[in-house]
Symmetry: C2
Subunit: 338 residues, 2 copies
DNA sequence: CCGATGTTTGGAACCGATTTCAGTTGCGTT
DNA sequence: AACGCAACTGAAATCGGTTCCAAACATCGG
């Protein structure tokens, strides 16, 4: 109807058109109960007519809130993180927040650097699977609200998955299939997910009197997986658990290329249950985590923190995991004695 | 060394410590040539000691620049877009810009809505594979700088891929393998990529006197692909080209589930060459696009626009594509006459 | 009808930077 | 030593909102 403004329309323009002061415009828009119905009406009409949208920078300056949250992930091309991003964005938007996505490229130094420079631009951070040491991040986080995802920090709200139990499920599944020698292709040492997964495996494997070897992948990526494949094959393991699905896909690809049958000769389990896990041949058995809920809850925790709300039970949540059995796991091959 | 500030440190704090005015601090930090070496030195020392980082909101208010760019994508879980994000973030960071990522969920209405509400918070947008109609977006973009990716707009800078040629390469590859009946599983109608790919196919197929059927996938996703698979099988096509790799993976999965041999019974080609394309069984033949360069160039174009620079040759770039032949394409099956 | 109370409202201060403008300083000339 | 010019610096205005404060107004009870 009216022409869209080419120049920016400010609160003063609205005030002038509505015949009130800027203060009243601000009030009418922020909390309608503070002004008389008639005034409110005129202000809203004027704002709509001019297509007024408050300047976020100006608002941020007085309120100290940017209405932006930073989501820090190691690698957005890993579907686990892009899925979490979607959940985070969805929930954030409901509360009028935007999401500044930060990809650290799996590099702890970059992570620290980016967090430092962005700390003033966001109201809070969602640190997803941080790779940097807690103490390197701490200084910058003192002034900024933080919720960690996939990482149990000391006094920081966090939402995590029950990795230990997920690992247990994976191990017991394999043990039940007759596997006695398992291998774990680990992820980043700084990842608490990784430590917990390893711990879960160790416990279950030890309880069954079986054997577990572990390697650390050069990186938690597809290439890291292909590179680790030969190391795994050099052991006599009949089943491999990978730190995540992306590594598992790398392993699978190299195994197939080497003519090693999966699961005939070696069984394979991943973590995260990314969509692609179901698309491979054979489809990948994987430990599913509640990606959507992780993202949503993390935002809720962060907003609680920002608004000074307290959670009964504290802002710490551990979500259950569950094993999804697909075609990449099968009975242990018959071996020549043992 | 010094304690990190718990309260925010402003330009005044630095000024006081350095014994100069806030104005000089601003100058010393923004453009060192404007102040005397001695002053500059004291200011820098003071800023470092206090761990001063300028408040972006305050800066944005005066300068009118937020130093943030918005990257709008249909679906960040599609690796093509997450890879582009990484390239964009990398280049943006070099110039001191942050990236606000916006996932529209493939929905044109959401896209328009998000662009509208965020237009004031970013210096410019990178519209990646927009699904909304140009005229719906236009009003908001009049006031904001825009570069489109994978979309040729009328008077908007853009960086695209040579889809027509990529499609031609794919078609000719298949024709050379003896296929005479091809099918195209299309993407969103609003996508100019889609239109160009279809056009490229039509031209090449027509020139060879072969046949092309096309369907539109319900959505350019894995599920869209699996759903389209049966439609494709209902035709007598011996080769399928999918709008993108994600659809192709869905097709592949359903074909395999139906016991249809790829490429023995049907050949399959995707677009984008996402990393997962190489991991499937058989690995997917795909038309590669220059994801990294697309992202980088788009940022360059946008920054040029923001800084009022002119590009010789205009800010329009079309990058070459090339077919990567893998295992999902093979000779057309021998048919009972034809 | 008046004072007390409560609700609306506008003026002005403020958030933390940048930038204009004018004043000060330093330096090279003559 | 005085002058002019350039380089440097600080005070103050400004960006566009929010919010405190006090004034204006309306409402109510006595």
């Amino acid at each position: 109807m009216t022409d869209e403004p080419v120049v920016t329309v400010t609160i003063k323009d609205v005030a002038r058109l509505a015949g009130v002061s800027p203060a009243s415009v601000s009030r009418a828009l922020a909390d309608p109960r503070q002004v008389r119905p008639g005034t409110r009406e005129r202000v809203h009409r004027a704002a709509a007519a001019l297509g007024y949208h408050p300047n976020q920078a100006a608002r941020a300056l007085t309120t100290g809130r940017t209405r932006t949250i930073g989501l820090v992930v190691p690698d957005i091309t890993n579907p686990i993180f892009s899925t979490i991003f979607q959940a985070v964005q969805g929930r954030a938007r409901q509360s009028g927040y935007s999401v500044l996505l930060v990809d650290t490229g799996e590099d702890p130094a970059t992570e620290v650097d980016l967090v430092r420079t962005l700390a003033r631009q966001v109201d809070g951070f969602l640190l997803c699977s941080p790779r940097a040491a807690q103490e390197d991040l701490d200084p910058f986080l003192r002034a900024t609200a933080v919720v960690t995802i996939n990482h149990r920090g000391r006094r920081v709200p966090c939402v995590t998955s029950d990795n230990t139990d997920g690992a247990r499920q994976a191990a017991e599944h394999l043990l039940a299939l007759g596997h006695r020698r398992l291998a774990y292709v680990a992820g980043p040492a700084a990842s608490s997910d990784n430590r917990e997964r390893l711990r879960g495996l160790r416990t279950a494997v030890a309880a069954a009197g079986a054997e577990l070897t572990d390697f650390t992948a050069v990186s938690p990526t597809y290439d890291g997986g292909t590179a680790a494949a030969d190391l795994v094959l050099a052991t006599s393991a009949t089943a491999v658990i990978a730190f995540n699905d992306v590594i598992a896909l790398g392993l699978l690809n190299r195994f197939t290329a080497r003519g090693i049958g999966v699961p005939q000769q070696i069984s394979l389990v991943g973590f995260d249950d990314i969509p692609f896990a179901a698309m491979t041949n054979p489809p990948l058995t994987s430990v599913a985590v509640a990606k959507q809920q992780i993202g949503r809850t993390a935002v809720d925790f962060l907003l609680d923190l920002l608004d000074g709300r307290q959670r009964s039970g504290g802002s710490r949540l551990m979500l259950p995991t569950h094993l999804i059995v697909r075609g990449s796991t099968g009975a242990a091959p018959a071996t020549f004695a043992d």
